[in-house]
């Protein structure tokens, strides 16, 4: 059983949904981001998504765009992102880690080498925004062969006719994008999201998590009623950003600020108990 499967299995026995938190690797520098990530499980994150910074994040709103810029300015590279995971694994061998980003840095690193290095570092899966099912030969199928998960995004534009092809090679869980739009720019319609999650669940037995636009513990609780997990990205990244000094450097408040928000989100998720 993979770390992801074990985690969802555990949560089912606890009768609750998962909290997935996103943080950009190297934002605003390597050491700070390592400290932030190491504090996430303790604060209540069940699964950690680590953003691989890219110069041209076409699917992201301003918060995550700026986080990527800060990280790149701080010298973050894909090699250093794998280092982060490796260092996290020294203290935590249970929390699943998903790398999230865009294809070009992986393509340039070399797909086979990347998969081998990621697996060795302790990565569990990938979400690569610009690789739809039509491009499965690039990374999705090689990742599955290497024993790593490839998590697919389903969106409000993914209709019933298309859903089977989106779900075909997805593994670990399915990530439902709650809005049409970029990350962190709109609050989803919770009823519509619940209906969509139910629709996806008719097509798959995999856990379905929901992200894009979740900002508070209340949002998280609203989503957790129908979904197996709640992803929070821009709000966490904003909490980090708001803790930086005028020059964009980390302060002693950076790790506590992120942890505080994650604790609030975790309370929201845990306030909803689910029948098993």
């Amino acid at each position: 059983m993979s770390r992801i499967e074990r985690r969802f299995e555990l949560l089912r026995t606890e009768g609750r949904s998962a909290l997935l938190t996103f943080i950009t690797a190297g934002d605003p520098d390597y050491d700070t981001s390592l400290a932030v990530i190491k504090a996430l499980p303790e604060a209540g994150a069940d699964i950690i998504e680590i953003g691989m910074p890219f110069t041209d994040p076409m699917a992201d709103g301003p918060a995550i765009q700026l986080a990527a810029q800060r990280a790149l300015k701080g010298g973050q590279t894909l090699v250093r992102t794998l280092d982060l995971v490796r260092e996290l694994r020294e203290q935590d061998d249970d929390t699943p880690v998903i790398l999230m980003g865009y294809y070009n840095p992986i393509y340039i690193y070399g797909v086979d080498r990347f998969l081998a290095d990621a697996k060795e570092a302790g990565v569990d899966g990938f979400i690569v925004v610009d690789l739809p099912p039509e491009e499965d030969g690039e990374l999705c199928l090689p990742a599955l062969r290497a024993g790593l998960s490839f998590v697919r995004l389903a969106t409000p534009t993914t209709d019933d006719a298309r859903l089977p092809s989106v779900l075909a090679n997805t593994s670990g869980f399915v990530y439902y994008v709650s809005i049409t739009g970029v990350t962190g720019t709109a609050v989803p319609d919770f009823d519509a999201v619940a209906a969509s999650v139910a629709r996806i669940k008719r097509h798959t037995d995999l856990p379905v998590v929901v992200g894009f636009g979740v900002r508070s513990g209340d949002h998280a609780a609203a989503i957790a009623r129908g979904a197996d997990g709640v992803v929070v990205g821009s709000a966490v990244v904003d909490a980090l950003r708001n803790s930086l000094d005028a020059e964009g450097r980390a302060t002693e408040n950076t790790v506590p600020a992120v942890s505080a928000l994650v604790r609030e989100l975790a309370e929201g998720v845990r306030s909803v108990s689910k029948d098993t």
Binding site: F54, T55, D56, P57, M58, A59, G61, P62, Q65, L72, T77, L78, V79, Y102, Y103, N104, P105, I106, Y107, I108, Y109, V129, D130, L131, P132, P133, E134, E135, R152, L153, A154, T155, P156, T157, T158, D159, R162, V166, V177, T180, G181, V182, T185
Partner: protein, 417 residues
């Protein structure tokens, strides 16, 4: 690479690939939109009414066909400096005479008529020099559609006349402040708009790049350039041209000129990238000369980037060439060896800009001046009965302020030295 295809004109395959290049590297939200666009375009291509509507607007609204003009004095100047008996006959394909002043309108017309067929009421576009934005704003005015144009804040500043034009035409110009604030960032922002407004919005991409079917579709719309040249050269010279030269940013004017000639082995074909301050300066926009294959904006193609796959900022004197990538079909034509890709620096383009103005009474766009800069060199190395066609993709009025500043600065520098 040595695997020569039987034909260079059958691509892309059903997945949108030209060799390893092209593809559909987009977010899932956009994937259904791209598939429906592909379907709508295939249906339109089979509909004689669609072709007739394009032909009618080309003739009566755009002013096609554009002339193929023998640049006599430019040819004479080349011959005066060339070795004895050398100096090709240089023709200019006058795309700058199109309504809106560049080749961009050819593509926009096709896409806007397609948007109307699809019932889309809101058009978005990215623009660099502003020529594609102006063409889009123009056709949106013509057909009563809402128009939003994304333009890098740096380009807004250096191409102000086109910004004013777009606003007069009723378009909303949104300056883009993210990234390097040029064409690449404008395209990112347009994609973010499209992913947000999926129901009513048509994304009118300005060049032969982006996810399939855009590279093939935009090429098809621009191929009117090459088809006209074939006929016009037959009429004027009784033969096909011996060579073709065009500038390359994304590469739509070049693709439009080249495509109808790709299977004519006798025709030499040259694309000219922007070498900015020079290929070794690090400040250029020559994706083929200085880049390598990667994935950006929906397709795999040659891109400027660092060793970690982060996209580099391009530089060119010309906002229209200031893009760190190139259309995927060009990448394939480069790797197959069918087209030779050269480059011209800012300084060379500026010199050609002045040369053509002085000799022919035609002020070329700085983009097109890159093609002219290499064309005069190539012409000097070819015999006098060699017929060369240079795509004069746009007019230079938009560049006058920038050029006068550059010339004043270089004069000052010269005086100080």
């Amino acid at each position: 690479m040595s695997n020569k295809p039987n034909s260079y004109t059958t691509g892309p395959d059903e997945h949108g690939h030209f060799g390893i290049f092209g593809g559909r590297f987009v977010a899932e939200t956009l994937m259904p939109l791209i598939l429906s666009l592909e379907k709508a375009y295939e249906e339109a291509k089979a509909d004689p009414d669609y072709a007739a509507a394009i032909a009618s607007q080309q003739k009566h609204y755009i002013g096609r066909p554009s002339p193929l003009y023998y640049a006599e004095r430019l040819t004479e100047e080349v011959r005066a400096k060339a070795p004895e008996g050398q100096g090709a006959k240089i023709y200019l394909k006058r795309e700058e005479l199109n309504h809106t002043g560049s080749h961009k309108v050819n593509n926009v017309l096709g896409q806007i008529l397609l948007a109307l067929r699809m019932g889309k009421k809101r058009i978005i576009a990215e623009t660099g020099a502003g020529q594609h934005g102006v063409a889009t704003a123009t056709l949106c005015a013509r057909f009563g559609l809402q128009c939003v144009v994304y333009m890098g804040a740096v380009d807004v500043a250096r191409q102000m006349p086109n910004v004013v034009r777009m606003q007069l035409l009723g378009a909303e110009v949104r300056p883009v402040q993210s990234g390097a604030r040029t064409l690449k960032d404008a395209m990112n922002e347009a994609l973010r708009d499209w992913v947000t407004n999926v129901a009513d919005t048509f994304y009118c991409i300005g060049t032969v790049a982006g996810p399939h079917p855009y590279p093939a579709m935009v090429r098809d719309f621009q191929s009117v350039i090459g088809r006209e040249v074939r006929e016009q050269a037959q009429t004027l010279e009784g033969k096909l041209p011996d060579s073709l030269v065009a500038c390359i940013g994304g590469g739509s004017n070049a693709m439009g000129l080249f495509h109808p000639f790709l299977d004519d082995a006798s025709v030499e074909i040259f694309g000219v990238e922007a070498a900015g301050h020079g290929l070794h300066s690090g400040a250029h926009a020559a994706s083929i000369a200085g880049g390598r294959p990667g994935v950006l904006h929906g397709n795999r193609t040659y891109l400027l980037m660092d060793g970690d796959g982060q996209i580099a900022e391009a530089h060119s004197i010309s906002a229209g060439l200031d893009y760190p990538g190139i259309g995927p079909e060009h990448s394939w034509l480069h790797e197959t060896g069918r087209v030779t890709y050269l480059s011209a620096t800012d300084t060379e383009a500026l010199a050609s800009f002045q040369q053509l103005s002085r000799l022919e009474g035609i002020i070329p766009a700085l983009e097109s001046a890159h093609a002219l800069a290499r064309a005069v060199d190539l012409a000097a190395e070819r015999p006098r009965d060699h017929v060369m066609v240079v795509n004069l993709s746009g007019r230079g009025d938009k560049d006058i302020d920038q050029v006068s500043e550059l010339l004043a600065a270089s004069k000052k520098e010269g005086a100080g030295a």
